[in-house]
Symmetry: C3
Subunit: 157 residues, 3 copies
């Protein structure tokens, strides 16, 4: 009845990784007031960028969606770390930005970033419904296929 985020994660068979350390001289999240800013997350899995290369054609959409899904999982891992281990501290996900490494001909960034949007709503429920932008990049750090950042409201709004 009162479905928790943890129960949804379990039902999805999802185990969040430890929050990845930043790739450079910054922090993976900041909290100011009731706003949580999560740094751009790459499709990290087991400590390495798992999906690389820019997307060229429609046949790359599924690969991009898997990259976006991994970025979203890492966003949740960072949010959990920011909130002292308990994702229930999330008020709502306000916005994500989906940066998709793209050939000039590739224009399906919105479908790629659905890989993240779907996962976030699956895990966070109504609190995961978000605004977003999805755009095509010339390239990304570590040749990642996707990078996504996020803004959360924390606590009661």
């Amino acid at each position: 009845m009162s479905e928790t985020i943890a129960s949804r994660l379990a039902a999805l068979g999802l185990e969040l990784p430890d929050a990845a350390a930043p790739a450079a001289n910054y922090v993976p999240f900041t909290i100011v007031g009731t706003t949580l800013y999560v740094s751009g997350q790459l499709p990290m899995q087991n400590g390495a960028v798992a999906v690389t290369g820019r997307l060229e054609s429609e046949s790359d959409i599924a690969k991009g969606q898997e990259a976006a899904r991994l970025c979203a999982i890492n966003i949740l891992a960072q949010a959990r770390a920011a909130l002292g281990g308990d994702l229930e501290g999330i008020g709502r996900l306000a916005k994500i930005q989906g940066f998709v490494s793209s050939a000039p001909e590739f224009d399906k960034q919105h479908l790629v970033i659905n890989g993240a949007s779907d996962l976030l709503v699956d895990v966070l429920g109504e609190r995961g419904v978000h605004a977003r932008a999805a755009v095509g990049m010339a390239s990304l750090p570590f040749n990642a296929s996707v990078e996504i950042d996020a803004i959360f409201a924390i606590g009661g709004e």
Copy 2:
């Protein structure tokens, strides 16, 4: 004397469209506290992306500005929907991000995004004066020439 946003729209001969549905699994805006996040808007007109193709040279600036203007109109339509139909609920426009589909040689993104900045100030008056970033993208969803998102403060600050 007390010029309203609606009166400015009328004076400009501008009629806002219905807020476009999002192109994918997300929402076109979220409100957290007094902050309104509007998702990236494409140059939609009559239900379709009206300006497509990346910008290559100075001769494409006018086309890009028209795309940016359409994005801004759609931002206003979303803001109006978010505010229950009344743009007077806007406290101020805080920031826009202008994503311009660009060939590597094209470096006039700031002039392109003026098409949006000018419209927003024309309609919102002092409340429309905003911070912004204008950048060049490898490509955009639906081969759109421009995508713009926005952050508004709502109500009295």
Copy 3:
């Protein structure tokens, strides 16, 4: 003991320039509530964009870092102007976005943006530790190599 931002600037031998005027029809910063949005800053020096051209290979990293450092100096100049001349009004730097003009093969945007992250922490101390995204762009206004924007919390949080 009570190290001020001004004393750190002096120790670093850094003198902030006057805040640059925007390149187009917008403002270089907005303040809504306790949030300060700084517009995308280019690597301006002495009134001109000092570092241009997209980054192609590892040998361009140092050039990119210098561009990022100049962007950060201009962000601080804008923040100082926004805060009536006194950077001590900064609560903390919440987030930066680092846009790096990049060839498709260049994937070291995170190292480039360290040029800004390092400077910001050097000047602002603990208050300068930030979230960020670093991404590769097709091109940037005025053929700049880097553009960076920022969100600050001002005053006590």
